[in-house]
């Protein structure tokens, strides 16, 4: 999965949690939860969605690293199983 495909998949999962999300207004280098108004339950559901779809284990101790969309994409890209198609 390349960077563009990963971004699309992440945004698709995010939109399932926050259907009103306007992708055009999203800034990849700003805190994601604040921009999309994700409370702790939304955030957990988002991470569950990512974890299940991308087969990536996201430790709770890593949550602090996942502030912006850029942070999240880099974190996931580094942990994607080899040859994962994101299906």
């Amino acid at each position: 999965m390349n960077a563009s495909e990963l971004r699309s998949t992440v945004l698709e999962i995010l939109q399932s949690i926050a259907p009103e999300l306007d992708e055009a207004l999203l800034r990849d280098n700003r805190p994601l939860r604040l921009q999309v108004d994700l409370d702790s339950m939304d955030w957990l559901n988002f991470l569950i969605g990512l974890s299940q779809r991308l087969k990536v284990v996201i430790a709770e101790s890593d949550y602090g690293q996942l502030v912006t969309l850029n942070d999240l994409l880099a974190y996931l890209q580094a942990r994607l199983p080899k040859g994962h198609a994101g299906a």
């Binding site: 009103e20 939860r33 702790s40 339950m41 957990l44 569950i48 284990v57 709770e60």
Partner: protein
């Protein structure tokens, strides 16, 4: 033969439009079964029945707007046969001739009106306020955000008008709870991880057992304590607005059970699939605005409840420990808004102190 009435759906929902019947005349129903769906200003609600029986006659058809308390259907009890019981005619709404004429002239929907006259009859005095309210806030069927805002405003105005609030704040160290949660979640798959919000809800429920005067409703001039710790959880809807459905028996459930129940409640709340019991039987509300970064919440009590507990954000802050040393620990500011007709500040302070102690023993939650 018994009546099935539209139950109370909370202080800010006094009427609803029947969307559909889930059972047909002649079909058996059992206690707890969803038998109808009613649309309110906030959401579509699944209406449960609380007695076994057989649906005999439907009195309200889909598409009809009716006030809370309206008889929706007649049912046969388990020991009755269809021939033994004749369904009475639907209770007719009493409307004075002058009121009927005025309602027609002003376009007021009589079916949605609760009469203030003898035996609930609608009088001329009921029509003009209804017409004024309708003119002040026209409510098209597809305008839920506006309807919801109006419903919340009405309930909160009533709260501020009727309830003599007092407010208390307590900043609580969550050092133990934080570390306990961290350790607990390390061993859990992501789908079973716990949130701090669940620990807070359970701590409130356990505190209520010791201070029951905060768990109940104020009705007919007196406090009626609740038998269960059904906690209303304030849930923000993504399109705006707020619903506070009940999470049931919070005091007696382990955290591992409360977490998926809370997740399910939030999901159904946002999907518009709540049950009537969840809308009506909460006896205290907990609101958590910590995720939005606020330090504390000074809440407005949801009538007829008598208390509301609020939590601000959990963040690391300077703290003086028991030995007088300065350190940095995660803390939260808990608030209590309570009703002076039922309790006073001294008991409220004890409530918050007990809540603080409960959160120091996360393994016991």
């Amino acid at each position: 033969m018994f009546e099935f009435k539209l139950p109370s759906l909370g202080a800010d929902m006094d009427e609803g439009t029947l969307v559909e019947w889930k059972v047909k005349p002649g079909e058996a129903v059992h206690k707890g079964q969803v038998v109808a769906v009613v649309d309110t200003s906030k959401a579509a609600i699944d209406i449960e029945i609380w007695q076994d029986g057989t649906l005999q006659q439907v009195l309200v058809e889909p598409g009809t707007k009716v006030p809370v308390g309206t008889v929706l259907a007649m049912l046969l009890a388990l020991d009755e046969s269809p021939t033994a019981a004749a369904a009475p005619a639907p209770a007719r709404q009493r409307v004075s001739p002058a009121a009927r004429k005025k309602a027609k002239a002003l376009g007021v929907d009589l079916a949605a009106l609760k009469g203030s006259g003898p035996e609930g009859s609608v009088t001329l005095a009921d029509i003009e306020p209804a017409a004024a309210a309708s003119a002040a806030a026209p409510a098209p069927a597809d305008n839920r955000p506006s309807d919801m805002r109006q419903a919340i405003a009405a309930a909160m105005s009533r709260s501020n008008r009727e309830i003599p609030h007092y407010y208390l704040l307590e900043t609580i160290s969550l050092e133990r709870a934080w570390h306990w949660l961290e350790q607990e979640n390390t061993g859990r798959p992501i789908t079973e991880r716990l949130l701090m919000a669940v620990l807070q809800l359970k701590a409130v429920a356990l505190t209520l057992k010791k201070y029951p005067e905060f768990n109940g409703v104020y009705q007919d001039g007196q406090f009626k304590p609740a038998a269960h710790a059904h906690i209303g959880v304030a849930i923000a809807l993504r399109q705006g607005g707020l619903i506070a459905p009940a999470l049931h028996d919070v005091d007696s459930k382990p955290l591992g059970q409360l977490m998926p129940e809370l997740a399910d409640l939030v999901k159904r709340c946002r999907a518009g699939s709540l049950r009537s019991s969840e809308m009506s039987d909460a006896c205290i509300t907990v609101t958590n605005l910590g995720d939005q970064g606020v330090e504390a919440v000074m809440g407005v009590i949801y009538p007829p409840q008598v208390a509301l507990v609020g939590f601000g954000n959990v963040a690391k802050r300077p703290w003086v420990d028991a030995s007088g040393g300065l350190c940095v620990v995660p803390t939260v500011t808990a608030s209590l808004a309570a009703d002076h007709r039922v309790s006073d500040g001294h008991r409220g302070a004890l409530f918050l102190a007990e809540l603080r102690e409960c959160l120091q023993q996360p393994q016991d939650l």
